[in-house]
């Protein structure tokens, strides 16, 4: 039982720390031209915060039945899967691959000149063909800055929702497992 508690503790710690550092280094899943520092710092902070909150509430968690804790943990994993799939779907919708060049990051909705030109040319691909990848990048930055910021916030929210439930799921099991350890005789 002790080894199981250690396993859950280590797993929770790993999910609290590793994704943030991995994001900082590899920029995986971070939208193009967005700050990987921002994404990693948010994940790191929320991961540690989740662990701290679990630890603070360990008394209440340990009083809960094993069934309840298991359900909460499974709920966390389901949340993780839903967030992961949503993020992948949204990421693929927002990021337009440009052959042999850097991908372009479009906002959830277009504003101003970008909106007009998208209506004119019909598709993002056609817009890139007509204006060129770099000019469209400028067009997005210039005319849809507000929409782009909100899109980044939505992505950031979903991104942290991938890792926080994982930390939560393993963390809550770790806290519960510590309680279940056989007490040594004095």
């Amino acid at each position: 039982m002790k080894s199981l508690a250690s396993f859950f503790t280590v797993a929770a710690g790993v999910f609290a720390v590793v994704p943030g550092l991995a994001t900082l280094i590899s920029k995986v899943g971070v939208p193009p031209d967005s700050s990987s520092t921002l994404f990693s710092a948010v994940i790191e902070s929320l991961g540690v915060l989740t662990l701290m909150i679990l630890w603070l509430n360990k008394g209440r968690i340990q009083k809960k039945s094993e069934q309840k804790v298991t359900n909460l943990s499974i709920g966390g994993i389901v949340f993780f899967l839903v967030s992961l799939f949503s993020y992948i779907f949204l990421y693929n919708y927002l990021i337009e691959d440009v052959p042999n060049s850097r991908p372009l990051y479009f906002p959830l909705w277009a504003q101003g000149e970008l909106k007009t030109d998208l209506v004119k040319y019909g598709t993002r691909n056609e817009l890139i063909t007509q204006f060129g990848r770099d000019d469209v990048a400028k067009l997005i930055q210039e005319s849809s800055k507000q929409a782009l910021s909100i899109t980044t916030l939505v992505l950031l929210f979903l991104y942290q929702l991938i890792f926080v439930p994982l930390t939560f799921s393993f963390g809550i099991l770790a806290v519960k497992s510590i309680n279940s350890e056989p007490k040594s005789r004095p």
């Binding site: 540690v48 000149e113 060129g132």
Partner: protein, 347 residues
């Protein structure tokens, strides 16, 4: 239980320290290096050459890209009479300047320092030799390429509403571009560019950048100049404001575009397709060539080169009174870093 709490606390402290060191390190380094370099120069002015060398070397340990500090070290050795060592340090400094970049005026500053502090007749031959080498390095900065860029239109921080109530108006007059290295040090600054094209929310312009600077990975800073506030026509209030805006990770135009015509000698205009469609398409563009001057590839006629990014351009070739145009769908830099557009006037 207490042990567990301590472990969690230590874990959190370690974690926060790690993150703070990762995020805060580079900015502190840059500041400390410049500060140490400045302290070194103060020591030099007090003739404390050994102290200057120590401080300068410490600065370079923090940020080795600060080329001007190497020139200070070399000057210290010269002042100490270690001439051969000084020459070798100057050579190192010139190589570092080529590698990391240096503002062109710093070359002149180095020459001025040599003439000011090492002007004694006994050092004349060495100083002349060093100055010649610096001048050769500086010459590389005179080979320029045309670059076409966009910078964002920034919000005027002056309270425009208040001025408009007083019937005052001010407009952007020119911009100045500074190229900075990864540590934020300025390695090159353009002259004021007044021929700028407002393009919805950005300014489009052309500038000449030394070839040696273009080879470096760097960021671009834009300095916006506004004209004096004018109250009605004519009278100008003595007021001018400057703005800085940093475009991080903005690389130079990375595609070398060869512009060739037969016969040679044609002027070339590079107009982004987006601007073309909004301003010139469906109009008699042949009569509007004068208004396109800001898009001209300056300094030369065909055959010439320009540096562009992955933007689609409408290219106009003008030879005597004949104008010909073609739309050029720029290929990705990764596929073809050097591309060629030809125009045959004989057809």
């Amino acid at each position: 239980m207490r042990k567990g709490r301590i472990k969690i606390l230590l874990f959190a402290i370690f974690h926060l320290t790690l993150m703070a060191s990762v995020f805060g390190q580079s900015e502190n380094d840059e500041f400390n290096a410049i500060q140490k370099g400045n302290s070194g120069w103060l020591s030099f002015e007090k003739a404390e050459y050994d102290n200057c060398i120590t401080l300068s070397k410490n600065a370079l340990k923090i940020d080795s890209s600060l080329s001007y500090i190497r020139f200070n070290i070399a000057l210290c050795y010269l002042m100490k009479g270690q001439n051969e060592y000084s020459i070798s340090e100057y050579e190192n400094a010139i190589n570092a300047a080529k590698r990391f970049g240096i503002p062109q005026e710093d070359f002149q500053g180095t020459i001025d320092d040599l003439l000011k502090y090492a002007g004694s007749p006994s050092l004349q031959s060495i100083v002349t030799r060093i100055i010649n080498e610096i001048k050769i390095a500086a010459k590389e900065y005179s080979v320029s390429n045309n670059v076409f860029l966009h910078v964002p239109i920034v919000v005027d921080s002056v309270n425009v509403k208040e001025y408009s109530l007083l019937k005052l108006k001010r407009e952007i007059n020119s911009i100045k571009i500074s190229i900075t290295n990864s540590a934020g040090g300025v390695i090159w600054t353009s002259d004021r560019i007044s021929s700028i094209e407002p393009d919805s929310l950005a300014y489009f312009f052309r500038m000449s950048v030394p070839e040696i600077i273009m080879k470096k990975k760097a960021n671009i800073k834009c300095h916006y100049f506004y004209n004096s506030l004018e109250k009605g026509p004519g009278s100008a209030a003595a007021m001018e404001n400057h703005y800085w805006d940093e475009k991080k990770d903005a690389n130079y135009s990375s595609i070398k575009l060869n512009l060739i015509s037969s016969p040679k000698g044609a002027s070339v205009f590079l107009i982004p397709n987006r601007i073309w469609q909004k301003q010139y398409e469906n109009k008699d563009w042949q009569t509007q060539i004068k208004s396109m001057d800001r898009f001209r590839v300056d300094g030369s006629t065909t055959n010439t080169i320009a540096n562009i990014d992955e933007t689609v351009y409408v290219i106009i070739f003008q030879l005597n009174t004949t104008n010909k145009k073609r739309t050029y769908f720029t290929k990705a830099a990764l596929v073809q870093p050097e591309q060629t557009v030809t125009m045959n006037f004989n057809e």
